[in-house]
């Protein structure tokens, strides 16, 4: 366990019998400010690990950068908690629409997207990747037992990238979005192909999570928790297989169940 990701403190622990002063650890949380071509974009609250990957992954998720070649220079300041990502040409569309909403008919199917950028990246994923239920149960088991920061603090989410058999990257963060952006940022910096990969997450699957996957053409997402209605709708329309409530040897497959081999 990386010490910078936890903070030790004193607290009073109450049980039915007694109240005792004890020492324990909680998950660390820091503000991390992302600049794009010297312009301040956002401050995320996050776990202080893999900050370069988080910054790059966030900027890709929000449409500022598309791939590694877009990046001229990255300046990460660990001490101040900031990153500045420099590109050649500014991505004006992203700057103008960050946080802004547009109701469009994305994918030609009438889906409501809440950000105009998202519809530009939307594709109907037809990647022929197949998983057996036992592979899925084993991957979730591996995620849960590899989430060291959660096991120590109970205060973080975990996410992982897998090829269906092995875990390739496992990241933890106080934010479920951040854990996934850390993975995608690392993949961008390594020029990794994501089209036959699976994302696992300990968190609930909301629409933002599905959009992050759709932009990278990831065909399958697996969670031990619940999806939202909008997430299921978007997964259906973008061709993503959405699996929730993966617990022990049970799971719910909400969309595109043709990728499950039975």
């Amino acid at each position: 366990l990386d010490n910078s990701n936890v903070r030790e403190l004193q607290l009073k622990k109450f049980t039915r019998e007694e109240a005792t002063e004890v020492s324990d650890i909680v998950a660390a949380e820091i503000p991390f400010t992302i600049f794009f071509n010297h312009q301040e974009i956002v401050t995320l609250l996050c776990t202080p690990s893999y900050l370069k990957e988080l910054g790059v992954g966030f900027l890709q998720s929000e449409g500022f950068i598309k791939n590694k070649n877009d990046i001229l220079f990255i300046h990460l300041d660990d001490q101040r908690g900031s990153i500045n990502v420099i590109t050649e040409g500014e991505s004006k569309i992203a700057l103008n629409t960050l946080g802004k909403r547009a109701v469009t008919s994305g994918c030609g199917k009438g889906t409501i997207f809440y950000n105009v950028i998202d519809s530009l990246y939307c594709k109907d994923n037809q990647i022929e990747m197949y998983l057996e239920p036992q592979q899925i149960y084993k991957l979730m088991h591996t995620l849960q037992h590899g989430a060291n920061l959660f096991l120590e603090t109970g205060g973080t989410h975990s996410a992982a990238l897998s090829d269906g058999n092995e875990m390739i990257i496992l990241r933890e963060d106080i934010g479920r979005h951040n854990a996934i952006d850390k993975i995608f940022g690392e993949c961008l910096l390594n020029d990794s192909d994501l089209s036959e990969k699976v994302i696992l997450t300990s968190g609930r699957i909301s629409s933002e999570i599905v959009i992050k996957l759709a932009k990278r053409s990831v065909p399958i997402v697996i969670s031990c928790s619940a999806p939202t209605g909008l997430a299921v709708e978007l997964a259906q329309k973008t061709g993503i297989t959405l699996i929730g409530f993966t617990r022990g040897e049970k799971m719910n497959v909400y969309t595109n169940d043709w990728r499950i081999k039975t």
Copy 2:
């Protein structure tokens, strides 16, 4: 259970023995855009209940409005999922600093605040409100058993306002911040005093949650989940009693335990 807060859908349920097509419900998720004096501020993803309260609570949390008297007019558009809150004078400081970061020495104690607004609202809470452990356990039990949307979907967070004995407001949302802002928005519209109240939450306590409470002078926050290091630091310095891991007849009191009667 309000039907607009859930969505019914078909899914494939896998168990060790079989895979069956079933009908089930998941938590609804909608994009909700907040305008302040006709200017677009943010689009939240939320559960479609108590939207007026959410919009008002969010704007208060972010420093756009302070109390009910600031509001001239509220236009809520349920169909398009938007709200426009009109005030007499524009809150220029909030517009200029939304999402922006400033490292200041708030409270005169050297705390790092990530938003310059937050330091302006920071007070050292000395309110003499006392709770017995049994009151706290009972309130958490009531929250968990009153969270109908979570009990049906597993996909939402719950939050509640209490005077220490009775539940006054209980709200559920796919976002833990939204559930709390819905409560605070309702309190603002009702001119409710929050200085001798308790907030309960099913979610983890991060710094943003503590800042929301500090701004309203709420002295106590109770969660069944974990806090972050920065949340504990801010609760210590703003005089808030932060209680986590409230489960059955156990709890961890991280800060200002003088409010617990033993």
